[in-house]
Symmetry: C2
Subunit: 202 residues, 2 copies
């Protein structure tokens, strides 16, 4: 009701400022993670390094875990952007089976690369941030439909989503995973995904 | 060191007593769930109905959620017993593919039947009780090996475990699931499991 009385310029300027602050904070958080490690990223440290007030950081993220949720969210969007409009075979333009294989390997790598951030985004008393499995599920279902009629296709899309993401989500709830092991695990699970899909569609 | 001085009869009798108490408490808890619903099972209510002291119930389960963890654990053991030594096709004696199909359907039914108890066994600040996926994983891997050489077999066993249990574990973290929906979901996921396995091994 009162909205028409608020000068247009003000909220817009504030919004642009907020976006800039947010991007600046996320960039600074990434630098701190790379230099110091996740464990040593704190709300106070981030505010100091970003040259912003603690209040700004608190309003933006709510908690230390909120910083990592925001980072995860930003990377997740970028990943989905590659899937929607990036080069094939992950992006459009390849055969649906090729896209399904590429999606599996890319998603495994993404989840392995982000397991430490995902773990840091946990918060006591809040539900486990299981990502948004529906994006993976919708993509798998779309590609299966393009491949052709498969009995119980919708149920299989749900189960393949769990097959792909479940083993990596379990890693998240475990203590520190060795990086070497992670790369090996990625290849191991990627090969298994390939066999599963190739046999499903042959 | 002092153990030899303790009369043998005493600890044995106490242990048998503890087992009896435990079984009596679990049986009473099941009656209360059936009559009152899970929400109305409390530590005090259980102690009163079982005719035991509150201290006994507390020492036995530690918390209200502990009651449900104990129930889940008992049912899980019974389920695994059917798999190990029950009649085919779930138990031994059928072809490995038939056992794999039977295991999938039985496991889905088990997880759906137990989703309310599993949810009640959650505890703030404790890790999510994800059951023991390794039992399912070991069983799937054993049956796949009996079926014959499959590339990336061990990785596929991990992914099939997630495909089977993951979608049901997600239910657990959601609010109350409608029972009718649950039965329908079981058939839906069971059919998908069948297609997935039949295509994997054909």
């Amino acid at each position: 009701m009162d909205r028409s009385f608020v000068p247009f310029g003000k909220p817009r300027a504030e919004r642009a400022d907020a976006v800039r602050n947010r991007e600046h904070l996320l960039r600074t958080a990434r630098e701190m993670i790379a230099e110091l490690g996740i464990e040593r990223v704190t709300m106070d440290g981030l505010a100091e390094r970003a040259g912003l007030g603690k209040g700004t950081v608190f309003r933006r993220f709510g908690s230390r875990a909120g910083i990592f949720r925001a980072l995860l969210d930003a990377d997740e969007r970028r990943f989905q952007q590659h899937v929607i409009s990036g080069p094939p075979p992950l992006g459009p333009g390849a055969e649906p089976v090729e896209r399904l294989l590429a999606y599996g390997r890319a998603r495994i790598t993404f989840l392995l690369d982000h397991h430490a951030i995902a773990r840091a985004s946990f918060e006591r008393g809040r539900p486990v941030p299981a990502g948004d499995p529906s994006v993976t599920q919708l993509h798998i279902r779309m590609l299966l439909r393009q491949i052709g009629p498969i009995p119980s296709l919708d149920g299989i899309a749900i189960q393949l989503t769990a097959a792909l993401e479940g083993p990596l989500l379990l890693y998240v709830s475990r203590p520190e995973t060795d990086v070497g092991l992670a790369a090996e695990t990625g290849a191991f699970l990627g090969d298994a995904w390939q066999t599963l899909i190739e046999r499903l569609v042959r």
